[in-house]
């Protein structure tokens, strides 16, 4: 048994050391989860290549128990948004996030996913995926080096460590509504801003 599980206030008899651990439910729950985060095999742009390089032999994501990347959102609990999110793609990204089972985390990799990056002024680019999804960790860089991505993944692990089974949202009674999938209209329409936007357009007399 690794020492990180043991709570120091309990003395374990010497003959049972290494075979028995006395710990809290939270700690063993998080310990199990932190080493088996399954990222989604989901590349958007340039950053995806560095993500694959991180899975390669030199940087070796497997050291963190994260080398199993699944293309299906149903089998994943970490979405690495690796690259520029365009308006045409964002409905799919939101849908994928909604399809992921809890517990789920979002890591925004690179400048584009975090805030639009060099393409922020483009007409087809979302200035940051956090306008739609709740992001847990931002990794800066264009693209971030594999070391930076690994650091981001370690931050996810730290976040997992601090969670408590009694407070996590996936065991709460509140139903999970998911995030409304934006619509591709004359421009991208975010359904949450929709009433305000339409009111504005009506005032201008643009709508029938």
């Amino acid at each position: 048994m690794p020492d990180e599980l043991n709570k120091s206030e309990y003395n374990i008899p010497p003959e049972m050391e290494g075979t028995v651990a006395i710990t809290t439910l939270d700690r063993i729950y998080n310990w199990g989860r932190r080493y088996s985060v399954w990222p989604m095999f989901f590349g958007l742009a340039c950053c995806a290549i560095e993500m694959i390089a991180t899975a390669g032999a030199r940087f070796d994501m497997a050291r963190f128990g994260m080398e199993i990347m699944r293309p299906s959102p149903r089998q994943c609990d970490l979405m690495i948004v690796s690259g520029t999110v365009t308006k045409k793609m964002v409905p799919q990204v939101v849908r994928l996030y909604n399809q992921m089972p809890e517990p789920k985390y979002v890591l925004s990799m690179g400048a584009c996913a975090s805030g639009g990056g060099p393409f922020k002024r483009g007409y087809n680019v979302i200035a940051g995926i956090d306008k739609y999804l709740p992001v847990d960790v931002y990794v800066p860089g264009c693209p971030p080096t594999p070391q930076a991505l690994l650091f981001g993944l370690m931050k996810i692990q730290e976040k997992i460590d601090k969670e408590s089974i009694s407070e996590v949202r996936w065991y709460s009674d509140e139903p999970d509504e998911g995030i409304p999938v934006p619509i591709l209209g004359p421009d991208l329409i975010d359904l949450r801003d929709f009433p305000a936007l339409m009111k504005k357009e009506q005032e201008k007399g643009n709508l029938a």
Binding site: A57, F119, N124, G185, E201, A208
Partner: protein, 585 residues
């Protein structure tokens, strides 16, 4: 240089002599090529193809000349036997830009004409499937028109005004939260708005048939969607295939999921600001993207900005290392697609990392090198780098390519899955404007480094790799051939690398750009990468267009896939080797 100009003039004169009423020389300052009568475009192109042998229409794009109130469609066409490019133009009024479509003569124009319609609103009469390609159906406006404004419009040209006036941050998003520039179409009603439907998407494919066979069994055709989130599409590409049993009877590629507005941003940027953006086109090969852009701008700038010898050699070394890197990754990912899940790719990544180390040492960044400058490269090779590269190209890389060869080439499954699949005949390859390894694997030995040499490629001894079957297996093998040829070039280049300057001029932020147009093309790892630039004499390009090889190679995807099994689709796509950053730009 002058020989080339006289050769082009000779051809132009010959064409004008043959068609005195249809064409005239483009006489604007700094422009080249011929202006063709719109009404005579199709017979002219037909004659050009038959009588002059110009068979490969490489680039079709539009330019919006707002002050002159006209639209121009620019065609770049060459002979697949070699020689320089012929530039043709068609001018139409801006209020009603209609141009005859060339798809019947050159099927390779199909996607490019759709792109011109999507982004510039030029209508191509007679196009079989003229709909938006990068944006979605229903998007308001044509973004590359000069009077179109983005939702968060900030100014016509960069550099923009201070974003921190008096220490306070000002953002367009906060001053313009409702995106005033979005123009909703006449009578837009949010309640009845129907977003881009699947039916609309499948309009290009024939309707789904239900058949009853002799036994009285009903069989129905099936539509299968791959992507945009699919592990084998190399990014966010989408294919909609119609199947009869397991056989593909129709296929519609859908793209634009990574359309990052490269060209619009490029036209707002200054010339040197665009260099780092070109890194992000084909993000495996930032060095060769830099190369193409630098060539195009240097052509505009003139003789004074010809890079010094040492810079030329460094450029070639970097471009060829990029080619090796790209082809290793192409092989690795292709095997991924065949089902050898990640082991060959890991071998490829190993070599990639070593080449990236060189890039990081010379340019400071692993992937986005931003290394080339107009008139040279940004900095010299660091100490010991020459020796390091020499060791790589004499010892490591030849050994590794042989190792990959030994592991993969004669593998029974690879051969079984790929031989005879996805055949593209030489005639089809030329017609579909295929370039690079796809074209050469079909038996057309066209390589710009030989056919229309740029930089110092005429000094090196190498063979143009060519394979003759045009199937997936040959497209796989030709990448080995090209790696070997690149190693040959690298060995010669590193042995003859001269000492000296690396930049022809002082490092500058702005350049005095003469008026005119230029088209610079390089043989990138994926094929002909071209940059078409129109300068109006200001600091920012008036038009900036990228002729992306993987985008245009995809035009032939449907032709390659028809009649194949659905499982082979992935292999065929993998063998074209696309990168979505370049497809969608």
């Amino acid at each position: 240089m002058n020989d080339q100009t006289t050769a082009i003039n000779k051809i132009n004169q010959a064409i004008i002599k043959r068609f005195p009423d249809w064409v005239q020389i483009d006489e604007r300052e700094g422009y080249e090529g011929l202006v063709v009568e719109t009404a005579q475009l199709i017979p002219f192109m037909e004659a050009l193809q038959d009588e002059f042998g110009y068979d490969s229409l490489t680039s079709v794009t539009g330019v919006d000349y707002l002050p002159e109130d006209k639209m121009e469609v620019v065609y770049h066409i060459y002979k697949s036997t070699g020689g320089s490019i012929l530039v043709l133009k068609v001018q139409v009024p801006r209020s009603n830009p209609v141009v005859p479509s060339l798809v019947s003569l050159f099927p390779g124009a199909a996607f490019q004409e759709r792109e011109a319609w999507d982004l510039l609103g030029i209508r191509f009469e007679g196009h079989p499937n003229l709909k938006r390609i990068l944006m979605w159906e229903g998007f308001a406006g044509h973004p590359l028109r000069k009077d179109w404004r983005e939702a968060f419009y900030e100014g016509e040209f960069k550099p923009y005004e201070d974003r921190w006036p008096e220490g306070k941050v000002s953002k367009v998003e906060t001053s313009n939260p409702y995106q005033e520039n979005i123009r909703y179409p006449e009578g837009f009603n949010p309640e009845t708005w129907i977003p881009d439907t699947e039916e609309l998407l499948l309009q290009g494919t024939a309707s789904i048939k239900t058949e009853t066979d002799d036994m009285g069994l009903e069989t129905e055709q099936l539509v299968v969607n791959l992507g945009p989130q699919h592990p084998s599409t190399h990014g966010v590409f989408r294919m909609v295939a119609k199947l009869e049993g397991e056989t593909v009877v129709d296929l519609e590629p859908v793209m634009g999921y990574l359309h990052r507005n490269h060209e619009k941003i490029g036209e707002r940027n200054t010339y040197s600001m665009n260099m780092p953006y070109t890194d992000r086109l084909d993000y495996f090969c930032s060095m060769s993207n830099n190369f193409g852009y630098a060539l195009a701008v240097e052509k505009l700038l003139g003789e004074k900005y010809q890079p010094p010898e040492r810079a030329q050699y460094i450029r070639v070394i970097m471009a060829e290392l990029t080619r090796i890197l790209n082809h290793f990754m192409a092989i690795g990912f292709f095997l991924n697609d065949l089902g050898a899940y990640f082991t060959p790719a890991l071998y490829a990544i190993k070599e990639r990392e070593l080449i990236l180390d060189i890039f990081e040492a010379v340019a400071g960044s692993r992937m986005m090198c931003n290394y080339f400058r107009f008139g040279g490269v940004v900095r010299d090779l660091p100490d010991g780098m020459e020796e390091h590269i020499r060791k790589m190209v004499y010892e490591r890389l030849p050994r590794q390519v042989d190792e990959m060869d030994r592991y993969l080439v004669e593998n029974e499954i690879v051969v079984g899955r790929s031989q005879g699949v996805g055949v593209l005949t030489p005639e089809q390859a030329i017609a579909y404007s295929a370039v690079g390894p796809v074209l050469r694997a079909s038996g057309v030995p066209y390589d710009i480094r030989r056919a229309d040499p740029y930089s110092i490629y005429d000094r090196f001894e190498f063979d143009v790799a060519v394979r003759y079957h045009g199937d997936v297996y040959d497209r796989f093998l030709i990448r080995y051939d090209e790696i070997r040829q690149s190693i040959r070039i690298l060995q010669q280049a590193i042995d003859t690398l001269p000492e000296g300057e690396i930049l022809a001029n002082k490092p500058a932020y702005k350049f005095r750009m003469p008026k005119g147009e230029s088209y610079g093309r390089v043989e990138g790892p994926k094929g002909e990468l071209g940059f078409y630039i129109v300068s109006d004499g200001t600091d920012n390009p008036w038009r900036y267009h990228v002729r992306a090889p993987s985008f245009i190679n995809l035009t032939g995807l449907r032709e390659m896939s028809l009649g194949e099994k659905v499982a082979d689709l992935v292999a065929i796509l993998g063998s074209i080797d696309i990168v979505l950053g370049e497809v969608d730009r």
